[in-house]
């Protein structure tokens, strides 16, 4: 029977990177779940384009 090494410890950079990514995703989720204040919610769909087509420029 050959001697098998045990599964090595997860590298520190993977743990730190995972924690940083989880914090970043959590912060982004909190920022975007703030109701009607997020980006892209300032216009009714297609209203700006309609204005442009109507001679808004």
């Amino acid at each position: 029977m050959k001697d098998r090494s045990s599964f090595p410890e997860t590298p520190r950079w993977v743990i730190l990177g995972g924690v940083a990514l989880a914090l970043l995703v959590g912060a982004a989720a909190l920022a975007t779940s703030g109701g009607g204040h997020g980006p892209g919610r300032h216009f009714q769909s297609g209203s700006s384009e309609a204005s442009f087509k109507d001679g808004g420029s």
Binding site: K2, G17, L21, G40, H42, S48, E49, G56, S57
Partner: protein, 171 residues
């Protein structure tokens, strides 16, 4: 896959990845110019330009980098899920693509608004575009650094595969 084809694919993948960083930097420059231009003269040109860069340069480059990177990983001994650095690259690139796709709506809104008035009433959108582009630039730079440094670390799957290969060699 032969060594010549492998090198060609690697060159293509590195070129696409580095080019995507440059494209995001160009997008960041355009959106920053629009935000800090008090008179709004640059806005009319900057947001349509940023939209073209996003749709026709950043999006194809990121998709192509993801596809070539996946082929590269699967066709070599690195594998897609064996090493943490390859897995991290895959996750970060996929995340960048997902955020980019989510931001395209906002970019279109800014582009359309740039035709209306000076300065266009965009609220928090200009700052959001700059923050997301800065984040994208940082993540793509980390992805490039991972490719260069290739930090050590086998995943559980990679460790199992490695043991299977050792077993086969000893038989």
């Amino acid at each position: 896959m032969g060594p010549h084809l492998r090198r060609l694919l690697l060159t293509l993948h590195v070129g696409l990845s580095v080019a995507s960083i440059g494209a995001v930097a160009a997008f960041l420059a355009l959106t920053s110019a629009a935000l800090f231009d008090a008179e709004g003269f640059a806005v009319r040109g900057a947001y349509p330009g940023a939209a073209i860069v996003a749709w026709w340069v950043i999006l194809p480059l990121v998709v192509a980098a993801l596809v070539t990177g996946t082929i590269q990983a699967l066709a070599t001994q690195w594998g897609l899920f064996r090493h943490y650095w390859v897995l991290a690259k895959l996750v970060l690139t996929a995340l960048t693509l997902a955020v980019l796709l989510l931001q395209l709506g906002g970019i279109e809104t800014a582009r359309n608004a740039s035709f209306i008035g000076e300065p266009p009433p965009l609220g928090n959108l200009p700052m959001s575009l700059i923050l997301h582009a800065s984040g994208g630039l940082a993540v793509l730079s980390i992805v490039t650094a991972l490719s260069i440094f290739k930090p050590r670390g086998l995943t559980r799957y990679g460790w199992r595969k490695q043991n299977q290969q050792v077993d086969r060699r000893h038989r």
